[in-house]
């Protein structure tokens, strides 16, 4: 005898979760809300502040047109800051990614303790920036600098004329750039390792059989193949650095004599610490055109990712 199971009719509401037109908007809503509240709203608020005379002492939304922007451009500190921002961004990219590439090549090799070495390399990323910068602060200290001590010890520096890393504008600029490059370094390593492992083994073997040596293999085969990945890393790192103020703020507070400010730190100092919200917002908005260009490049690179 055969038994036929009778399926009890279920209430219709049980299938509500199977309907994408209902569930879809529900699931995407938090993300849209997040972008709107934390990105779009502050952005429009910044535009609004930048064309007003808003300060924390006089919170009036008096419209002043482009006056704030003209004031900012006229300021020597701002012009210096703009140059600093580019030096800081480009310098940190070059140092961080270049060292990242070499470290990645080393970490691709088999050697005892490779796992530990890989973990250590990622450490600068995992350490909170404030904590790490404190360590760097000591390394650049005018009296206890271990960098100066080393340079003196190997005879490259006159003990009577030690460098004041954070006390001279150029040296301070190098210092903040190096610290930021150190923060970017793990990112560079990870990106390059990912790139290297994505190159098909057959292609590398073919290059070897075809007679390509180390340099040719690296610069004519591997690098062009992973170029789209590197491009994304460069653009991502650029955006990340361009908007960053933590290293500058923690290491030099923009000093000496406002010599190491970047756009982010200057905007923070003017807009928040000094309370001149309108001018702070105007400074901030100078980030926008550069970031826009970077994002356009990023999206194009993403689309071109497939060689």
């Amino acid at each position: 005898m055969t038994a036929i199971a009778v399926i009890a009719p279920r209430p219709k509401s049980r299938f509500l979760l199977d309907r994408p037109e209902l569930v879809g908007p529900l699931f995407i809503a938090p993300a849209i809300l997040y972008v709107f509240v934390l990105v779009a709203l502050p952005f429009f608020l910044a535009i609004y502040y930048s064309i007003s005379a808003f300060t924390i002492f006089d919170p009036s939304y008096r419209f002043v047109g482009l006056k704030n922007f003209i004031d900012v451009i006229d300021s020597d500190i701002f012009r210096r800051t703009l140059i600093n921002t580019f030096v800081f961004t480009i310098g940190a990219q070059i140092i961080g990614l270049l060292l990242g590439k070499f470290a990645a090549m080393l970490l691709m090799q088999e050697f005892p303790g490779r796992g530990l070495a890989r973990a250590l390399v990622v450490l600068p990323w995992a350490v909170p920036v404030s904590l790490a910068t404190l360590a760097w602060l000591w390394m650049f200290d005018s009296l206890y600098s271990v960098i100066n001590w080393t340079l003196v010890a190997i005879g490259l520096m006159d003990p009577a004329h030690r460098w004041q890393w954070l006390g001279q504008q150029d040296l301070a600029m190098i210092a903040v750039t190096v610290v930021h490059a150190w923060r970017l370094f793990p990112f560079g390593v990870v990106i390059f390792i990912a790139g290297f492992t994505s190159v098909p083994k057959d292609v590398l073997d073919a290059a070897t059989v075809d007679g390509a040596g180390f340099w040719r293999r690296n610069y004519q085969i591997i690098l062009p193949i992973i170029a789209p990945i590197i491009m994304i890393a460069v653009i991502f790192g650029t955006v990340f650095t361009f908007t960053d103020l933590s290293v500058v703020y923690l290491l030099t507070k923009g000093g000496p004599i406002n010599g190491t400010h970047v756009l982010g730190s200057l905007a923070f100092q003017v807009g928040i610490l000094s309370g001149d919200v309108a001018h702070g917002a105007a400074i901030c908005l100078f980030l926008f055109p550069f970031l826009l260009v970077a994002v356009i490049f990023l999206l194009r690179a993403l689309r071109r990712r497939e060689i």
């Binding site: 057959d202 292609v203 059989v209």
Partner: protein, 347 residues
């Protein structure tokens, strides 16, 4: 003269023995196929010849010269990889020119050779395309052209047809064979596909678990397998193996026929119980068991589709037979006892 010879090659990866003392040679202009199941060491052997792996012990000779310590580029080899290994960022033209550029060949000479190779393989019109814009068959030709421009002593091909679909594979197979006849360069071809091996090889080397089981022409390998492994690796369905005193006895399914079809010759008769019949268009495959004989696998018979299956029905016993000349005998270790067998080449 031998284009390539390997002598007592051994290769261990850690504790795993990938190749356990293989000696083999491919003569000038010969199409040699390395055939075996996956993991048998055939690709490793090819990579050792190419110089991409170092043997644990043993000697590799190319063109009469020991090349153990020579890098791949010095060995006079060209290799085509399973997924072709084309450079994705270079055009077809530059892909083919790459090995010449690394050798510092003069520009005019590069142009001449690339055009010659592209012409020979019929890919001149694709010169400015990139690999991702090519079909599987076109990619394979580019890989061949890139191998060809180096004027190698030997071509090493690592399953170059496995990425093509079944239909294309058949035509690529005959083109490849034709191509090899034209350039007359010794070729070592790795595959796990017995149809490719039988159809293309001048000689086939059958490998299993890092050892060489048999070397010989396709006919030798198929008709006179050196051991039970070779007997059951080749042929679809493989050779029937039934137990006998002191070993086993084998016969091919296509030689196992209803007795009435084998009139007038010396035959050995086996009562055969057919369990099921498969119709494959060109043939029938009959699966079943023998009366009073233990078989290592289900016994099969292969009948041409036009042969009538008169009276043969599942579940019933029938008189089947094999010609005595088609019977093969193996000893307890599975070795063919009938003929002196080349287990290694050179003997």
């Amino acid at each position: 003269m031998a284009a390539v010879a390997v002598n007592e090659i051994r290769k261990k990866f850690g504790d795993v023995v990938a190749i356990n003392g293989i000696s083999l040679e491919a003569r000038d202009g010969e199409f040699m196929v390395l055939l075996g199941p996956s993991g048998c060491g055939k690709t490793t052997l090819l990579r050792i010849i190419a110089g991409l792996e170092k043997p644990t012990s043993g000697q590799i000779l190319i063109d009469g010269q020991v090349v153990n310590d020579m890098p791949p580029r010095g060995r006079g080899i060209a290799m085509v990889f399973q997924s072709y290994g084309l450079y994705p960022h270079l055009t077809v033209w530059n892909n083919i020119a790459f090995p010449l550029r690394t050798q510092g060949t003069a520009r005019a000479e590069i142009k001449r050779k690339v055009e010659w190779a592209a012409g020979l393989l019929g890919i001149d019109h694709l010169a400015q395309r990139r690999p991702r814009e090519l079909s599987g068959g076109e990619r394979q030709r580019v890989a061949l052209a890139r191998a060809l421009v180096r004027d190698p002593t030997v071509f090493l091909l690592d399953e170059p047809l496995s990425n093509l679909d079944a239909k294309l594979r058949a035509s690529a197979r005959s083109e490849l064979k034709q191509f090899q006849r034209t350039v007359r360069t010794a070729t070592i071809y790795v595959t796990h596909d017995q149809v490719e091996a039988m159809g293309m090889g001048d000689r086939i080397a059958v490998l299993d678990h890092g050892t060489l089981r048999q070397v010989g022409s396709p006919t030798e390998i198929y008709e006179h397998p050196a051991d039970e492994f070779v007997a059951s690796f080749l042929g679809t369905p493989p050779m029937n193996l039934i137990e006998r005193e002191g070993g086993s006895m084998g016969f091919r399914p296509e030689n196992f026929l209803p007795k009435e079809l084998l009139n007038g010759t010396a035959v050995v008769e086996f009562p055969f119980r057919v369990d099921r019949v498969e119709y494959l268009g060109s043939e029938h495959i009959l699966y079943g068991a023998l009366d009073g004989r233990a078989a290592k696998r289900e016994v099969t018979a292969k009948l041409p589709a036009h042969a009538t299956l008169n009276g043969i029905s599942p579940g019933a016993w029938h008189a089947f037979a094999v010609r005595e000349t088609e019977l093969r005998y193996f000893d307890r270790d599975g070795r063919n006892t009938q003929r002196p067998v080349t287990r290694r080449y050179p003997p």
